[in-house]
Symmetry: C2
Subunit: 292 residues, 2 copies
């Protein structure tokens, strides 16, 4: 089987053995935004055409490729949803030379009834669980960080946090950025921000403290971004990890260390998930998919 | 006595009768940022020189004019501080033709030990209290909204919230702004944001909901800024008004109605403070000042 995690700005293709083992991994030329109208069959052929020539016949796609802006829309499946539910809801797309199916995204409503959606992350979430694990808390850091909860083998709910984008907007477009040099990194200033996030006063008050601590010489310009990052990630983790838990972190780059430290300081335990969680998740769904 | 509330970007001068009654009010040409180095005596003379010619001899200044970037630095006085403390700490500045004194700003530490400062607002806070009132909660909405608590006639502490500036940065520099038209106004969308702010999930999650509600057609583009404003002001009021209280609101413009509604929805009662609270506060300090 061939699995493709095809998002807005990037694509990653995997060739899988019949037992799900990862045989080969490949970066695609770009995400769905790079594909011209009607160009998805050609883009897929360019990405994995040689694998198809080797006799592979089943292709499973996840991510924004199944959105209205993608190849074809695969309607959201409502939570709770497990691997069987996803496999039962795949959407066929016509393609010459292989059977191609789209995995739908998931929708959920938070306790306040506000909707949530994901496309592609649901596959990574299932791929990140340990063999035999039916329960877990998974975090995907990023501009829009997502937290998903799995119980009895189904994603029961998830929440998105504007943390990364808020950090950038506050750093680049408010008074807080005027006293900032450098980027956010783990260390004492980041941890001071995490500790601060647990105090009274609320996030909007804590944000202003970044400035006053700087004015009073208690926060150096080169530490200020780390402190701000600690404040925001600290508030996010406190809201998303309501009791100290094992958290599987999915992603790459500097955010992984920051989230790992924040989760530990809040009493949880962070473990890095498989970077190829999407491949594993798609393999698990592929096994359950009715291909003919 | 002549009183001048002289801030960073604006100045307002008041001519007061010996009993503190306001005789005349005048807008200055600009705040301290408009005054060239060494130009404060000339700027004061330009603003109130004709009043001085009428025989007025005592001038009391408050606000950023007492900062390092102002006429002369008047060191912060630590909270708790009352009218007598402020009057006892005024700083004389040399001026030909009148006795001129600067009212110091206040400093405080919040429960987490993070410093807070204000310059000028302390005068407005005392001016906003009703005659004989020794206790109160005062809110000054704005880019950096301030809440001050008065007990037994002294400001015991205050907190600043980045609410206004965060709103602008989120609206203009994140994905939330893409689906927004118009400005924040009172009404159902603002109130929905206030209600949402009381739910679980945290502010960073609530922010993202502005987008998903829009994507699902449950929040119109023209209502989106009001909803975002409700989220932010709701979080601020919940953190600052820890028990439902009478809140004296100081300021002007559209924020007054928004804060008033938010305070009411959180169970408090908002009353608009005197727009000339600075004049009244300076009169009360002037009465207590040793002028000779």
């Amino acid at each position: 089987m061939i699995a493709v995690d095809w998002g807005t700005s990037s694509a990653r293709a995997y060739r899988l053995a019949p037992d799900g083992r990862l045989l080969e991994r490949r970066e695609g030329a770009g995400g769905i935004l790079r594909v011209p109208e009607g160009g998805f069959p050609a883009a897929l052929a360019a990405m994995v055409g040689d694998w198809l020539a080797d006799g592979e016949a089943q292709v499973l796609l996840s991510g924004m490729v199944g959105s209205r802006q993608g190849w074809q829309e695969a309607p959201y499946l409502a939570c709770p949803a497990g691997l069987d539910d996803l496999a039962g809801a795949v959407v066929p797309v016509p393609f010459e030379g292989a059977i191609v199916r789209l995995v739908p995204g998931l929708s959920a409503a938070d306790p306040g009834g506000v909707p949530e959606v994901m496309r592609g992350e649901e596959v990574q979430v299932f791929g990140a669980l340990g063999p035999g694990d039916a329960d877990g808390l998974i975090c995907l850091p990023g501009s829009h960080a997502k937290w998903a909860r799995v119980a009895d083998g189904r994603i029961t709910g998830f929440s998105t946090h504007l943390t990364g984008e808020a950090f950038a907007a506050l750093k680049d477009h408010t008074i807080l950025g005027r006293m900032m040099t450098g980027t956010a990194a783990p260390g004492p200033a980041f941890e001071a921000g995490i500790a601060r996030s647990a105090e009274t006063g609320g996030l909007l008050h804590h944000l202003f403290g970044t400035r006053t601590l700087g004015l009073f010489g208690r926060l150096a310009p080169e530490d200020s971004a780390s402190y701000l990052s600690g404040l925001l990630i600290g508030h996010e983790v406190a809201a998303a990890m309501t009791t100290p838990s094992l958290v599987r972190l999915l992603g790459s780059g500097p955010l992984m260390a920051l989230y790992g430290r924040a989760i530990a300081l809040k009493g949880g335990e962070a473990v890095a998930g498989d970077v190829d969680a999407a491949a594993r998740g798609l393999a698990l769904i592929g096994e359950r998919t009715q291909w003919t």
